[in-house]
């Protein structure tokens, strides 16, 4: 019997009902995260990865709704059946989240020490002085130099990298079991990004928390996660261990993403591209949602929505190539490229 995962998500559907129709931003996503595991979610903008992470915290705003039939279970608790007050206690306490732009998530009129100290005071009975001491200690943990001194700084007095450290510190104040990091390094420079990723890895090693890292950068995923979920058009299209995924990507979308990245050895050659653009969540294409941009698509792909085929140990792919692998030998020009319009 396998141990119960920390988080398990089943058939998560988050729809936005607007005057323009129903946007099926997240459309049947299932995955799980084990304790102390680091899982990456990759995909381009509009694939549903951020909505997925907000759904886990039930932070979806109107007109968005998590559809009936979805299930999110954390440590055996069904989050979707909790009342608002219990859910509020889960946030921060058991699941915490950090965002791409720390400046918008920090309050500009309070010192960072005060903002950190407020977190435990909201959730437990603790004196002001003890809360402040814990805030200073946390600032030290996340690598802020002179934490006692720096606790008196305001957010605008810190650099982007320092602010992101403060955000991480704030998220960890209550030692959550799961940290959701939504593009935590996208707004940062590459040398600062390296610092933050190192910090996250270090904290995970020290605290046994799990990390769900959401990013568009395959390089970041390769370096800091052990399992990767690839999302496209509101669905998981591939999931595998990080080594397996990079060694043998199965889904043509994953393959395309990897080929599109410029890197050493591709100098001045044409890059392989995925033609067209991510479709609209108001009308996902029929059949396989990637078929218009896929170089292998055949008539079955237009007709039949592929299930997640199991193609290896812990490796699933939403592609009919799993049952007709010989089709991979005959790539052709995708539909989206024939139409002539670039993205």
């Amino acid at each position: 019997m396998t141990p119960r995962p920390l988080l398990s998500v089943e058939e998560l559907r988050t729809y936005f009902r607007t005057s323009a129709g129903v946007a099926r931003a997240v459309d049947g996503v299932s995955f799980s995260i084990a304790a102390n595991e680091s899982v990456g979610v990759v995909g381009e903008s509009g694939c549903g990865k951020s909505v997925t992470s907000l759904s886990l915290l039930r932070l979806i705003q109107r007109p968005g709704t998590i559809e009936p039939g979805s299930k999110i279970e954390l440590e055996g608790t069904d989050l979707l059946s909790l009342d608002d007050e219990s859910m509020r206690r889960i946030r921060g306490n058991r699941i915490a989240m950090i965002f791409q732009e720390p400046m918008t998530a920090l309050n500009p009129v309070f010192t960072i020490g005060a903002q950190l100290a407020e977190v435990p005071r909201v959730h437990e009975h603790i004196t002001r002085r003890d809360a402040w001491a814990r805030a200073v200690e946390m600032l030290g943990t996340v690598g802020i130099p002179d934490p006692a001194e720096r606790a008196h700084s305001y957010p605008h007095q810190l650099s982007g990298g320092m602010r992101q450290r403060v955000m991480i510190g704030m998220a960890l104040m209550l030692s959550p079991a799961l940290l959701i990091a939504d593009e935590p390094t996208t707004a940062l420079d590459v040398t600062i990004q390296a610092q933050i990723l190192e910090l996250l890895a270090e904290l995970r090693a020290r605290t046994a928390m799990s990390v769900l890292l959401i990013t568009h950068d395959l390089g970041v995923v390769a370096e800091s996660t052990s399992r990767v979920i690839v999302m496209y058009a509101g669905e998981i299209v591939e999931q595998a261990g990080v080594r397996e995924l990079f060694a043998q990507p199965h889904h043509p979308y994953t393959e395309g993403l990897m080929a599109a990245m410029p890197r050493a050895g591709t100098k001045r050659e044409r890059l392989t591209v995925i033609p067209g653009a991510v479709p609209s969540p108001y009308e996902w294409p029929s059949g396989c949602r990637f078929h218009e941009r896929c170089p292998y698509a055949w008539e079955r792909c237009e007709r039949e929505h592929p299930p997640l085929y199991e193609i290896g140990v812990g490796h699933v792919s939403r592609c009919h190539l799993a049952v007709e692998p010989e089709r991979r030998a005959t790539p052709h020009l995708p539909l989206a490229a024939r139409a002539g319009a670039g993205a």
């Binding site: 420079d189 600062i192 395959l218 390769a222 990245m261 100098k267 670039g342």
Partner: protein, 350 residues
């Protein structure tokens, strides 16, 4: 043949303070940079935010008035030009921006945006202009009938194509590409990079390709200049720079790029601390507070390292990397305790 030549270009933004708006200091955004761009060549300009690369790109086009220095374009002294001749010269030097949302006028159809340059320089009128706009849109991979649509109807990648068509309309020889793909998704980014390369071949364009993404620059550039706090700290052929970075900052920068290969084994140099403020740069070598060079000593905080030839066609600014014209005696008088060496790092490639 040299098309653009920049010498000792500086741009200082004054800092004012107090009630009287007195000038109390300067942000040395660009602090004496020199380089050439040959016809049909791509020079990559990389560095982290705040290093002055964007200011440099705009100062060359005089979209921002430089503080000092020389800019020669195709034999013309750009800085000496009056308003009217500069306006005419703008036809030959264009720019493509990072943000495809703010660089297009939301109230103008994309056709009108592309057509603007044709009208300004009287290159085409009436139906001839219409035809040219259609041709330009098709050349950048859009459809002719897109001309009547507004920017909000397009995706980020498509808007970036419109921005490229607008620049291309006036038949330039040189384009400053200011982070043209940074705001785009990976798959779309590849499309735009391919487009830029195709256009370069078709029209013999020269690019100054400004970016913070080193992988993109490695792919597209012939030569690469690395900027740090307003200065160029290393300049070399792209393949050489990536294989053998000589300046410690470049080494750290390259080692920080996440590699999409979980099995890649390499040593990462994680720099401590943040980029200092260009309003108050460190003395001596601007990089010395964060530098991991084994020979770093007191002289590094006293002597401003000149950009000098270290290897054939490979320039770097580091007094601890031999050869250097800052002699050992001179370094010692500045407090040096460790002599410069010739260290040739070889970067393990994945």
């Amino acid at each position: 043949m040299t098309l653009l030549s920049v010498r000792d270009l500086t741009k200082h933004f004054p800092i004012t303070g107090g009630v009287m708006r007195r000038v109390i200091g300067a942000v040395r955004a660009v602090d004496g940079i020199s380089f050439d761009v040959a016809q049909g060549e791509t020079l990559g300009l990389v560095g982290e935010s705040g290093c002055g690369k964007t200011t440099a790109g705009r100062a060359i086009l005089r979209l921002i008035e430089p503080t000092s220095g020389e800019i020669f374009f195709d034999g013309t002294d750009v800085r000496a030009l009056a308003k009217e001749p500069l306006r005419k010269l703008r036809r030959k030097m264009q720019i493509v921006f990072q943000d495809p949302f703010s660089s297009l006028n939301p109230r103008m159809t994309v056709g009108a945006s592309v057509r603007e340059g044709l009208t300004i320089h009287k290159l085409a009128e009436g139906s001839a202009a219409d035809a040219r706009v259609r041709q330009l849109l098709e050349e950048v991979g859009l459809r002719a009938e897109h001309a009547t649509r507004y920017p909000h109807e397009f995706s980020g990648g498509q808007r970036q194509r419109v921005g490229i068509a607008r620049a291309l309309a006036v038949e330039p020889k040189f384009i400053v590409c200011d982070e043209p793909v940074s705001a785009l998704d990976v798959s779309v980014q590849a499309q735009v990079i391919n487009l830029l390369q195709d256009l370069q071949r078709a029209h013999g364009l020269a690019y100054l390709f400004i970016a913070h993404d080193l992988s993109v620059v490695e792919h597209i550039a012939d030569r690469v200049a690395v900027m740090y706090l307003g200065r160029i700290v290393e300049l070399a052929r792209a393949d050489e720079l990536y294989a053998m970075p000589l300046m410690p900052y470049t080494q750290a920068l390259l080692s920080a790029i996440p590699v999409p290969d979980p099995d890649a084994k390499r040593e990462r140099i994680v720099l401590r601390g943040d980029v200092p403020s260009p309003a108050n740069p460190p003395s001596g070598c601007p990089f010395h507070p964060r530098c991991q060079h084994p020979q770093k000593d007191a002289a590094c905080s006293a002597i401003v390292p000149p950009l000098e030839l270290k290897e054939p066609n490979h320039w770097a600014a580091c007094i601890k990397q031999l050869p250097t014209r800052i002699s050992w005696e001179e370094q010692q008088s500045a407090g040096a305790t460790r002599p410069p060496e010739r260290i040739v790092p070889v970067r393990a490639t994945a």
